[in-house]
Symmetry: C2
Subunit: 135 residues, 2 copies
Amino acid sequence: MSAFTDNELEYLAGQRLGRIATVGPGGQPHVVPTSFRYNAEHDAIDVGGLWMSQTKKLRDVQRTGRASIVVDDVLPPWQPRMIEVRGTATVVATGGKALSERFEDVIVRIQPTRIISFGIDSADTHAHARSVGST
Amino acid sequence: MSAFTDNELEYLAGQRLGRIATVGPGGQPHVVPTSFRYNAEHDAIDVGGLWMSQTKKLRDVQRTGRASIVVDDVLPPWQPRMIEVRGTATVVATGGKALSERFEDVIVRIQPTRIISFGIDSADTHAHARSVGST
């Protein structure tokens, strides 16, 4: 059983970009747009991208083991929707073949420990948060 | 003199939403969409919003004194643009009158210490980063 609701999974599948946050040395947060996909096998969010091994987000995850991602948009005229996934994070070699020098065979996997969503489940009138997983 | 380039200021003025990242207790990052504006007097990014005093981002800033914000979009067909502002952060009473119970007289002000941008200055072909300010 997934930590996500069906509506949340459908929403995630329809969005192209999220913004991932990590924590740098000295406790300074770092936030950057990124592609992502829901990984059904691990019930996790996989974050990839160009030159992945050279990114600050990857180094931050290697050092801290934590990351969060927010996926959001606004439907007209002004109906904001968002889901934030906070969790433990690891650097994973996908085992696939790198598509090119730029598309490397490495991702950051976020295993959810807390999910906050707003505007995605039809009855949403407030943000709601829940702890998930074993952490 | 601003820590931002003219092109960066123009870009920021044209965007409605950013995503702010803070750090929670235990080192877990938090990231959430937010409105923002450039504050010319302080050469800072001011983040406001509904029920501001009750938000996790405000509590995180009170505890850590740090925040980062990313503002980004993609021009068609696929021309990504972004600016990330990392800095010290404080909770500030604006001294204005609260517009309503929801719109409170309090903001988070991010004073830049490092600016990373991509696709905004015309010659951009790579992301570039620079340290700014006195911190």
